[in-house]
């Protein structure tokens, strides 16, 4: 439906303005019309007292066109628009014919109305609408038909026609405002009311706004820089031109300055005006440019923060992925072995006839099942650390957690004669999970004690630092050390053991890593075989 396109093209704000304006025009036209009937004489108080009041033809046409405009903008009553426009056109053409004095009985009977004529002739010199008026309204009628059309060419012609009407009305206004006494010969403007012409100008501009993408409407209606500048500049230029024109007339009338000097003055004032307009343009454009730059920098900032978040998220996901892979590896390795053992044991048990051997086999069953159970628990402990969201942080002192750990290994320490030292002066404490910190310190102490060298007295040292705003804990010993080249990547793995030791299960470090990483930190190790090991935790 063709009318739909206007509905979409005109935005709500412009539509509201249009409706308000047309309501005002209708009101004024109706008042004028009533003024005829009831002989109001309020025109003397208006700015152009010499001007005719709005004539009947104009007021009726104005009202009709406003109604049509309302219907076009609200996409209603298509047929009414069509027929009303045609009616207006016909009226216009008839008026034209009448003026050209094509005497015809029919025409006379249509337009010779004794009542109206009596009213009119009593007031005005010539009751017929002037050529400018007829031409304008007829052209508008055509353009309203053209707006309705689906043909793009007709739309453009309609828009051009409306611009023509605007031009005619502007010419009329300027011509009439000079207060040149209307002569019978000046048929073009003579019977036009300046107010009527003004209403007509408004109406033609409003009608042009209905197609905001065609003609000059496209220059002024829009949100881009070009549109803004146009809207900003045009009134200023218009104002300047009008002022200067008016001044010229004043000068000419008062005959104070001769024409040549007046011209020079005028040209100078035009230059001045040009300068001012350029200044305004520069200001506007610069403001727009600044706004754009501000918006751009905001976008860049938002982009950067977004990228940063994406990177953090990617790292997090990568780490989670790695954990899942490790988990899958651990499951497959550490559960398959005991399960396959159980299968073999069952086969052997079934074939065995000796009861004593059968009992022995049952022992083996038990060992294997216990093994499985322990592995399962150790693994679950490790996993629960990774997923534990209840890692409540408290303010903890390293020294107290350290002393607790030393106490629990008192027996081993005394037996081995190990020297345990600490220095927490550089970083006294930390906001951390109490459970994890104790577990971490205990596991590292236990490890250091377990793998101390039989060749020398064990010396184990705990120290805390602050490096780059982060709390760091180092645990160094002079024990057996680890061959990092051989075992480097397995050191924090599950059930990975590098030395023969009866208590070596290989889960301590696995747990420590899970706990440290679960709280968002990192753990690393330096070691030399038979010299010692140093663990470094960044919390």
């Amino acid at each position: 439906m063709n009318l739909m396109k206007f509905h979409l093209l005109m935005n709500l704000q412009n539509r509201k303005k249009l409706e308000i304006l047309s309501a005002i025009i209708v009101l004024i036209s109706i008042i004028s019309f009533l003024g005829y009937l009831f002989k109001f004489s309020f025109y003397s108080i208006l700015p152009y007292p010499w001007s005719l009041p709005i004539q009947i033809n104009s007021s009726i046409n104005l009202v009709l066109f406003c109604i049509l405009l309302h219907f076009i903008v609200n996409k209603k009553n298509n047929l009414f628009i069509k027929y009303c426009s045609i009616l207006i056109i016909v009226n216009g053409l008839l008026n034209l014919l009448y003026i050209i004095h094509l005497n015809s009985g029919i025409l006379n009977s249509i337009f010779a109305n004794p009542i109206l004529d009596g009213v009119l002739i009593g007031r005005y010199t010539n009751g017929r609408p002037c050529v400018a008026s007829i031409l304008s309204f007829t052209l508008m009628g055509f353009s309203f038909l053209g707006i309705r059309s689906k043909n793009k060419i007709f739309n453009q012609i309609a828009q051009a026609t409306l611009h023509l009407v605007t031009l005619i009305s502007i010419l009329t206004i300027l011509g009439l405002s000079d207060h040149i006494p209307s002569l019978d010969q000046l048929y073009f403007f003579s019977n036009f009311s300046i107010y009527g012409a003004f209403m007509l100008m408004l109406l033609s501009i409003m009608a042009a706004a209905v197609q905001p993408n065609l003609g000059f409407a496209a220059t002024f209606i829009g949100s881009k820089i070009g549109h803004e500048i146009s809207r900003s500049l045009f009134p200023k230029i218009l104002f300047s031109v009008l002022i200067v024109g008016y001044l010229k007339i004043l000068i000419a009338r008062s005959a104070l300055i001769n024409e040549a000097s007046a011209n020079a003055l005028l040209q100078t004032s035009y230059i001045l005006i040009a300068l001012f307009i350029i200044y305004f343009t520069k200001e506007s454009l610069n403001k727009i440019d600044d706004k754009r730059k501000e918006a751009e920098s905001k976008i860049v900032l938002a982009n950067n923060s977004l990228e940063k978040r994406i990177m953090e998220r990617t790292n997090h996901l990568t780490q989670q992925n790695k954990q899942l892979e490790e988990f899958a590896y651990v499951v497959s390795h550490n559960f398959r072995a005991p399960v396959s053992n159980l299968q073999s044991l069952i086969d052997i048990y079934k074939e065995e006839k000796d009861i004593k051997i059968k009992d022995l086999l049952l022992d083996k069953f038990e060992i294997t099942i216990n093994n499985l159970d322990t592995t399962l628990n150790d693994l679950l402990n490790g996993i629960s650390v990774k997923n534990d969201s209840k890692k409540e942080k408290q303010h903890l002192l390293f020294n107290s957690s350290f002393l607790t750990a030393v106490e629990s290994f008192q027996g081993d320490i005394i037996k081995s004669g190990a020297l345990i030292t600490s220095d927490f002066s550089k970083a006294l404490g930390i906001e951390y999970s109490a459970l994890y910190l104790e577990s971490i310190i205990q596991n590292l102490l236990s490890n250091a004690l377990k793998y101390s060298s039989p060749l020398r007295t064990a010396k184990i040292h705990f120290e805390s630092h602050i490096i780059n705003d982060e709390v760091v804990l180092t645990v160094s010993d002079n024990g057996l050390g680890i061959d990092l080249e051989e075992h480097g990547k397995d050191i924090f793995g599950f059930n990975k053991v590098f030395h023969k030791h009866p208590d070596a299960k290989g889960v301590g470090l696995f747990l420590v890593k899970a706990q440290v990483e679960g709280m968002g930190g990192t753990i690393s190790v330096e070691s030399k075989v038979d010299a010692g090991t140093k663990f470094k935790i960044i919390f």
Partner: protein, 134 residues
């Protein structure tokens, strides 16, 4: 099969050691098994007995995951000293891992005869030991 074989089990899993020993014995009590709990023990033994044909094992069942020195590390060391060893040893890799990467790695090592997935049942041991004699 008449020949008395010396079979080495290189695995840290005590239960697996027990099972292997029992099964081999039940197949043929003439065979002797010798147990190592990690790769280091095994390679040290082989190295120190490199000239003793009777002391060196005929077959080695080698696990991959062991402490101190794992199966791969053992193989690396073995390849290094192989030329000095007087005996041709048949090595089978045994593992509970079905990881295809491990399998491919084993295939690429000439010294490895085959890759066996645990559990190894009696029939499998029997077929291996029998095929050895042929």
């Amino acid at each position: 099969m008449d020949k008395k074989l010396l079979i080495a089990i290189v695995d840290d899993d005590l239960i697996f050691q027990f099972i292997a020993e029992r099964l081999i014995e039940s197949i043929n009590s003439e065979h002797q098994t010798i147990i190592f709990s990690d790769g280091k023990e095994a390679i040290d033994f082989i190295d120190s007995n490199r000239n003793e044909i009777d002391t060196l094992p005929d077959i080695i069942f080698l696990d991959i995951n062991m402490p101190v020195m794992n199966g791969w590390q053992f193989l690396n060391k073995y390849i290094e000293i192989k030329s000095k060893i007087e005996k041709e040893i048949t090595i089978y890799i045994v593992s509970s891992s079905k990881n295809p990467d491990d399998f491919i790695k084993a295939e690429n090592i000439n010294e490895v005869t085959d890759y066996i997935v645990k559990p190894i049942n009696r029939e499998k041991y029997t077929s291996i030991l029998d095929s050895f004699c042929k």
